[in-house]
């Protein structure tokens, strides 16, 4: 998960104000790894022969552009990593050897991600026993993918290079719920060490699942809540995939999944299918191939071999993949299907598919589909997948091998011994339970609020914001009620605006009402300069109150008056001043009426 320490190998900050001040484009070439071999995953990306475009944000410099070698490692990030490792009882190495992990999908301008092994061993005590930790790595975050269109992908550099602490566990986790608990516990420790200031939902996790069909890694699960969903849906997918394979292998004993894509554009010359027409208009051509023994396995019941193939071809910019289990359909008519059948001559149990693509991709596409299907037929499901909001997972790329790493030659070995001394001096990190107790005891907020603050990783912001304003109840209220409500109804609030709001409140002696008004303005997209300049955030002065009161019906109650003023001015009211004024007015009234009497 990200550490809020500024970037790992340059002096840029974590957050960008401008996301694109210039752009550039790169290609990536495949190179040999340290041991002379070439890595599968890397090779796979290269096959796609793409052009990568980058938006240069104002929190990036020549290092992110891969135009300057990395600078010295961020000491704060290093100390955080070592403190976390010590908290888990892991063994920290004496030296840090920064490695390059080849990633040629464009998410790293260099073509590799810098990563280093900080510690091994140790564990986290969960309600279901200790979950052992295998490795703790400190690495760079990748560039943010903005868009992808066939062979051209666009990335933003704002996220690239932010330190990530990656903690891998041994297979000690028993089920999806246990996975969520362990993830929360481990993340919390990192969050509390790493000045983590955003919601727990912002934590990305990689989940590894092994059901006997090879290891599947679900990359970048962006919410704790998705961990469980992802695991459950992946178990379902692998189970039905295994069933489909057993049917397939029984039909195809020789496992001859020979994919040969044949130009069938002539058949669709007068087609009415919008899918085909749409792709054809961008210069793509229809190809079809026999899928031996796959009838009914592509999309029927739980079987989804079709989607396994579609997920793959999408990566090559191929949008339209149609297969026989879903045809006729998509505007393709029976006579067209008959012509396809006449061309491919499918036998009993055979299926076929149609793809729209550029002719120069045909060679690589055939090879890749065939490889993927063969691998699945071998019950080797190992690969890297992503997870959607709905919990379903999608193919990303083959699982990388160990060969795709070699030393980052631009950074000398880093001596960790001084860092270890610093970490020791800073003491161990607090766990969730003791922090809940401390918040309740020390700040006088309810244990329920403490619990939520800690569980949602808001204790860091709580402590920092409260240190500005010294009002634990207001701080807790803002974090637990005001902000979630505003972010739900209006828009997000940047943490630096939150800090500025608290600072201004402290400086000007503003109260809750003003703070909430300020945050509401921020969430509607106002800059803090605008917020600060708005009269709406400042309480009415005594003089202003006096003027308003003089125009009001004297018979109104104080609460009626407050409601009326609020409605008319939209500005905070200094209750004490109001009471005082109302009191003195009444006195005057009494006096004047007394005088008249």
């Amino acid at each position: 998960m990200q550490l809020d320490t500024g970037k790992l190998f340059c002096r840029c900050g974590n957050e960008a104000e401008k996301e694109s001040i210039s752009t550039f484009a790169r290609k990536l070439s495949l190179v040999s790894g340290e041991m002379g071999a070439t890595d599968r995953a890397a090779y796979y990306e290269k096959e796609r022969d793409r052009e990568f475009h980058y938006n240069v944000s104002d929190n990036s410099c020549l290092v992110e552009m891969d135009e300057d070698p990395p600078h010295a490692i961020n000491q704060d990030a290093l100390i955080t990593a070592v403190r976390v490792a010590r908290t888990f009882g892991s063994s920290v190495f004496d030296h840090l050897s920064v490695m390059r992990k080849i990633v040629v999908d464009g998410s790293n301008t260099s073509g590799f991600q810098r990563t280093s092994l900080v510690a091994t061993g140790g564990g986290a005590a969960t309600s279901s026993g200790i979950v052992r930790i295998s490795t703790i790595c400190l690495e760079e975050d990748s560039a943010r993918r903005i868009s992808e269109d066939g062979r051209k992908a666009v990335f933003g550099l704002d996220r690239l290079g932010i330190p990530l602490l990656e903690i891998a566990t041994e297979p000690d986790i028993r089920d999806a719920d246990h996975a969520v608990e362990a993830a929360r516990m481990i993340s919390f420790i990192v969050a509390s060490a790493g000045h983590f200031k955003r919601s727990a939902e912002a934590i990305r996790q990689d989940v590894n699942i092994s059901l006997g069909y090879g290891r599947v890694e679900i990359k970048g699960v962006s919410k704790l809540s998705l961990i469980g969903d992802g695991i459950r849906s992946e178990i379902g997918r692998q189970t039905s995939l295994a069933q489909a394979v057993s049917v397939l292998n029984s039909r195809n004993p020789g496992r001859a999944y020979n994919i040969k894509l044949i130009n069938c554009s002539e058949i669709f010359r007068n087609t009415k299918s919008k899918v085909i027409l749409g792709e054809a208009s961008s210069g793509k051509i229809a190809y079809c191939s026999l899928l031996k023994g796959m009838d009914g396995l592509l999309k029927k019941g739980e079987f989804r071999l079709g989607r396994e193939t579609a997920d793959l071809v999408k990566l090559f910019g191929v949008k339209g993949l149609l297969h026989s289990d879903e045809l006729p359909g998509y505007g393709i008519e029976n006579d067209e299907l008959e012509k396809i059948r006449a061309l491919l001559k499918p036998g009993e149990g055979d299926a076929f598919m149609i793809v729209m693509t550029q002719p120069d991709l045909i060679h690589v596409l055939s090879k890749e589909i065939q490889n993927r299907l063969s691998k699945i037929a071998d019950l080797d499901f190992s690969e890297t997948r992503s997870v959607s909001e709905d919990g379903t997972t999608h193919f990303l790329r083959p699982m990388p091998g160990g060969e795709r790493m070699y030393p980052e030659t631009d950074i000398p070995l880093i001596d960790l011994v001084p860092v270890l001394h610093t970490a020791k001096a800073m003491g161990p990190l607090e766990d969730m339970r003791s922090l809940v107790e401390r918040l309740t005891r020390q700040y006088g907020i309810s244990s329920q609020d403490s619990e939520v603050l800690v569980n949602e990783f808001k204790s860091g912001p709580f402590l920092e914001l409260n240190s500005i304003i010294d009002d634990p109840r207001l701080t807790a209220r803002v974090l637990l009620q005001t902000i979630p409500e505003l972010e739900r109804t209006s828009g997000p609030i940047a943490y630096h605006d939150l800090v500025s709001t608290f600072r201004l409140a402290k400086e000007k002696g503003l109260k809750r009402e003003s703070v909430e008004t300020m945050l509401a303005m921020c969430s509607r997209g106002a800059s803090f300069e605008e917020v600060k300049a708005s009269p709406l955030i400042y309480p009415l002065s005594e003089e202003e109150l006096r003027q308003i009161l003089s125009s009001l019906d004297p018979g109104m109650s104080q609460s009626q008056i407050i409601a009326r003023i609020r409605k008319e001015t939209g500005r905070p009211i200094n209750a004490q001043a109001l009471s005082r004024l109302l009191g003195s007015l009444k006195d005057q009234e009494k006096k004047s009426s007394g005088g008249r009497a």
Binding site: L28, V31, L96, M99, S110, T115, T409
Partner: protein, 403 residues
């Protein structure tokens, strides 16, 4: 001390009571480096590490030599530098290597493309003898009807390319230097595009020595630059080598070549004067420079190239020293620290005094190019040193300054 393990062996070690298993990489300066199965290297202090087992394993495949002789095509001559560099596992740093065929994809190793390693140095170690070596290899290739591409470190590329430019009075085919700012062991290396574009530029048949490198930070365009009007202007960017005032000959954008400026077309024959007199020094003037330094350097030299301030100035103390140096028969050539613009000794009293002291100036010639030119002129036109220095031999002096 005899190593317990060799590069590539499988090893198990105990380290701080943790068991480490992996591939042995190196043992140097008290540090044992092991590559784990996950791909990570760990660096262990040897005083706390204990070998549990060592399993000698298959050595990694030997480096291919990749050399290939041809005629009537394009010949790549490797001299070293980043473009031919490789991770050095003993120090962890990047060092030169010999296999240049790995720089080209299979599709690119065409019939008419040859490769040969003629040297293997980091370009800061290049010397005038190396320039002669390069020139002679290049001549051999020209004589075989090949275009020549010289793979060279970017640090001193201008020095080497301009030295060759002077030595080749005529050339029958193009000679293009190229290199890379990112080493080719990384996917983002600029080496691949630079070589491809250099091959494309060869077909222009430019009869000058030129340089092909990235034209921007993107991988989409390369530029062909006259060697004698080039300079490395950034330590790390891909487009570090720039043309200074009118050295741009051509560029390539998305595969399309455009001509940017006039160049000398290839000649019918090749005339190489492979002689350089290396008794030349390049000296940067700075305020308060004490007299005495120049004379001491001049003792073993035939020519000094001085980088003066502005239009070509040095302090009064240095002028009198220069007067003595030229009196002793050592040529002094004035260039400017500004890099851009003409040196002109007519404008200020300092300049006129330098001119009277016998100092030679040559318009906007770049200091590094004046340095290699002086070596060439000393060896080949020594009797007319001053006049030849002032004449543009290979486009090194812009008669008309547009920027």
């Amino acid at each position: 001390m005899k190593e317990k393990a060799s590069f590539g062996d499988r090893v198990r070690l105990s380290y701080n009571n943790v068991e480490i298993e992996g591939t042995f990489i190196s043992h140097e300066n008290g540090i044992i480096t092991v590559k784990l199965k996950s791909g990570y290297n760990v660096a262990l202090s040897d005083d706390r590490a204990e070998y549990l087992s060592v399993t000698p394993a298959n050595r990694p495949s030997e480096e291919r030599s990749g050399e290939r002789e041809i005629s009537g095509g394009v010949m790549l001559l490797a001299t070293g530098g980043t473009i031919a560099s490789r991770v050095d596992y003993t120090t962890g740093a990047v060092k030169p290597h010999y296999d240049i065929s790995s720089l080209l994809g299979e599709a690119e190793i065409r019939e008419k493309l040859g490769t040969r390693v003629i040297d293997n140095i980091l370009s800061e170690n290049v010397t005038p003898e190396k320039w002669i070596l390069m020139a002679e290899h290049a001549r051999k290739e020209l004589d075989r009807g090949n275009h020549v591409i010289i793979l060279h470190g970017t640090d001193t590329m201008t020095y080497s390319a301009s030295a060759l430019s002077f030595m080749f009075e005529k050339q029958s085919k193009s000679i293009i230097f190229t290199g890379s700012q990112r080493s080719p062991d990384r996917p983002s290396s600029d080496a691949f595009e630079n070589i491809r574009s250099a091959i494309s530029f060869s077909s222009l048949n430019v009869g000058e020595v030129s340089i092909c490198m990235h034209d921007s930070r993107s991988d989409l365009s390369e530029r062909l630059i006259r060697a004698t009007r080039s300079r490395k202007m950034h330590t790390s960017r891909r487009d570090a080598i720039r043309d200074i005032d009118g050295g741009g000959l051509a560029d390539i954008r998305n595969g399309k070549v455009s001509i940017l400026g006039r160049f000398r077309p290839a000649a019918d024959e090749t005339v190489l004067n492979a002689k350089l007199d290396d008794r030349v020094a390049l000296i940067y003037f700075y305020p308060g420079m004490e007299s005495g330094i120049l004379s001491r350097i001049a003792e073993k030299k035939k020519a000094l190239v001085v980088m003066g301030t502005g239009l070509g100035h040095v302090s009064e103390a240095i002028i009198s020293e220069i007067r003595e140096i030229t009196r002793d028969g050592v040529h002094v050539v004035m260039t400017s620290q500004c890099l851009q613009g003409n040196v002109n000794l007519n404008i200020y009293s300092t300049g006129r005094e330098l001119k009277n002291a016998g100092v030679i100036s040559a318009g906007d010639i770049l200091p590094e190019v004046a340095f290699t030119k002086a070596m060439y002129v000393l060896a080949n036109h020594g009797e007319d040193f001053g006049e030849t220095m002032m004449k543009s031999l290979r486009g090194e002096i812009s008669g008309r300054l547009l920027n």
